[in-house]
């Protein structure tokens, strides 16, 4: 890869670089090529979110800033940027400021292994799915640290709720991932996507197989992992004001907000990769492959994001004991059973991937 990058910089900019510098520059360019569009997508997804809720509640939604209100997110961002960062006197200052940065960084870091198209991936890890799982399990730290460092009761309650919630839903999520990777026979996300080609009756993706219930469980667990309604108890505004965010203002709050949306889009991308066939078109039909893979992938993310917004607009918030019951007594047994059934099916039909 180093030779290729050296050649590329020679061709493009007329400079000859030492191989390690070329690699570092190549990686930095790759990171920027993912992060900058991602931030734009995050801004627009906030807008889309608000428009979808508005449409479902027979309102207009943001429609003042820019044409059709398209610039609303940027106006909000600018407003937050210009505000004063308030640090409570009794807060633990370093951790207080570390927490939002951590949330934001972790939400971006996960995108390193997402394949946007065949071969279009920053780091083609062999353990890509475990990497995503590890990163999403770290997301809890941003919240738990912010809750503790704020030195505020509401923030602390929010942090406690969220840590228990995220740890609980990770368990069933892990089992869902196990069923998928048993069928795909790989931990590499690109190979998982390729394994979904023509799974059944010419449909690409595991959603058209008996793994469909796992997709539903994965999606609902993703809602819980990202603290989205109906599982937004950590920030339940009616009970604990805004939970862990209560003491945050200005850019510190904006980092939480951006991180949350980047995480939501990451979860949409994961659902598309694991169950909807990633960059593959929905049907295994030759003309559909003429459309570039990343367009299919973005289309699937867009659809999943719409479902996220749809859920928020329609479903009331869970009570905490109901949330725990759903995670431990409903999802865990079902996903465990599905792991056993999937294993049995693959064994009996001799379909274990090599």
């Amino acid at each position: 890869m180093a030779d290729l990058l050296v050649e590329f910089f020679q061709w493009g900019f007329g400079v000859t670089l030492v191989p390690w510098l070329a690699i570092i520059l190549g990686i930095v360019v790759g990171i920027l090529a993912i992060v900058l569009p991602l931030l734009l997508v995050v801004a627009m997804s906030v807008y889309m979110d608000r428009k979808v809720w508005a449409a479902m509640q027979m309102r207009r939604g943001p429609n003042v800033v820019g044409p059709w209100g398209l610039m609303q997110s940027f106006a909000d961002g600018l407003k937050l940027f210009l505000k004063e960062t308030i640090i409570p006197a009794s807060a633990n200052k370093f951790i207080f400021l570390l927490a939002p940065a951590l949330t934001f960084i972790l939400a971006l870091v996960g995108w390193a292994v997402i394949p946007f198209d065949a071969g279009m991936v920053l780091a083609d890890l062999n353990v890509g799915i475990l990497y995503i799982f590890a990163i999403s399990s770290l997301g809890v730290y941003g919240i738990i640290l912010s809750g503790w460092a704020s030195n505020s009761r509401y923030a602390f309650l929010g942090a406690l709720r969220s840590s228990a919630q995220m740890v609980s839903y990770e368990v069933s999520m892990g089992f869902v991932l196990v069923t998928v990777l048993m069928c795909a026979g790989s931990l590499n996300l690109s190979e998982i996507v390729l394994a979904q080609k023509d799974t059944f009756l010419g449909v690409n993706g595991y959603w058209f197989t008996p793994l469909f219930p796992m997709m539903v469980i994965f999606f609902i667990s993703a809602l819980a992992e990202t603290n989205r309604p109906p599982f937004d108890l950590p920030e339940a505004e009616a009970e604990i004001v805004a939970g862990y965010q209560v003491e945050y203002s200005s850019m510190a709050f904006a980092l939480f907000f951006l991180g949350e949306y980047a995480n939501i889009i990451l979860m949409c991308a994961m659902t598309s990769i694991l169950f909807l066939g990633g960059w593959l078109p929905p049907f295994d039909w030759e003309p559909l492959y003429l459309i570039p893979g990343w367009i299919w992938f973005f289309g699937k993310i867009f659809f999943m994001f719409f479902v996220f917004a749809w859920v928020k607009a329609t479903v009331p918030r869970y009570r905490y004991d109901q949330l725990m019951r759903l995670g431990w007594k409903v999802f865990l047994p079902i996903s465990l059973l599905w792991v056993v059934l999937t294993g049995l099916f693959l064994l009996l039909t001799d379909k274990i991937p090599a």
Partner: protein, 204 residues
């Protein structure tokens, strides 16, 4: 060169944060340093080419175990200076345990050097990385040769988990709990009766 640089970076931070775990004044900071130590050990595993173990370390220890530590430590309301009073008293026994550990580590180090080259058992020889990723290699070993030990470890953990639940669970009387089955099974007839009341007679 980059490899050595990464190794020394990860190793130094691991050792530094390990020291800070036991020496920082605030227990929450201790847990944070512990997490940093876990992270850097995961980095060391990646340098060794053991990416599966590195990821599992992050998922299990950082993602779950340290969260529970944090959960407990955050809710402690203790006077830290009070906690440090016993330091002198426990120093001899603590030092002794430390010395024993150090001696054992040194013995392992010397034993490694004296034992000669590691003999590879052909049945368990590790396949080359280009033939099989090491996640696959671990899986094919763990679920065949060591299946029994693996299952035993799982059973022991299960027993420990059930034990912890049995020890801490107490049935409190008088607590109203939601029973979803009862709620779903409840029909209109269970809740009220419709009585046809004739005009002017009342319910009697």
């Amino acid at each position: 060169m980059i490899y050595a640089l990464c190794f020394y970076l990860f190793a130094t931070i691991t050792v530094f944060s390990a020291i800070m775990v036991i020496s920082s004044r605030n227990p929450v900071h201790s847990v944070l340093y512990l997490i940093l130590a876990f992270f850097n050990s995961a980095g060391l595993f990646i340098l060794l080419g053991a990416e599966f173990i590195a990821m599992i370390l992050v998922i299990v220890y950082v993602g779950a175990v340290a969260v529970l530590f944090m959960f407990v430590v955050m809710m402690l309301d203790i006077d830290y200076s009070e906690l440090r009073k016993g330091f002198q008293k426990y120093l001899p026994i603590g030092g002794l345990i430390g010395l024993i550990l150090l001696a054992e580590l040194l013995l392992v180090g010397f034993g490694w050097g004296l034992g000669g080259p590691v003999t590879t058992d052909p049945a368990t020889a590790i396949p080359a990385l280009n033939e099989m990723s090491n996640t696959e290699a671990i899986g094919s070993l763990l679920y065949t040769k060591y299946a029994f030990l693996f299952q035993m470890a799982g059973l022991i953990l299960l027993v420990a988990m059930i034990g912890a639940i049995v020890l801490t669970h107490r049935a409190r009387p008088g607590v109203k709990k939601q029973n979803i089955n009862d709620q779903v099974k409840r029909r209109r007839g269970d809740a009220y009766d419709i009585v046809k009341v004739k005009p002017g007679q009342g319910l009697g």
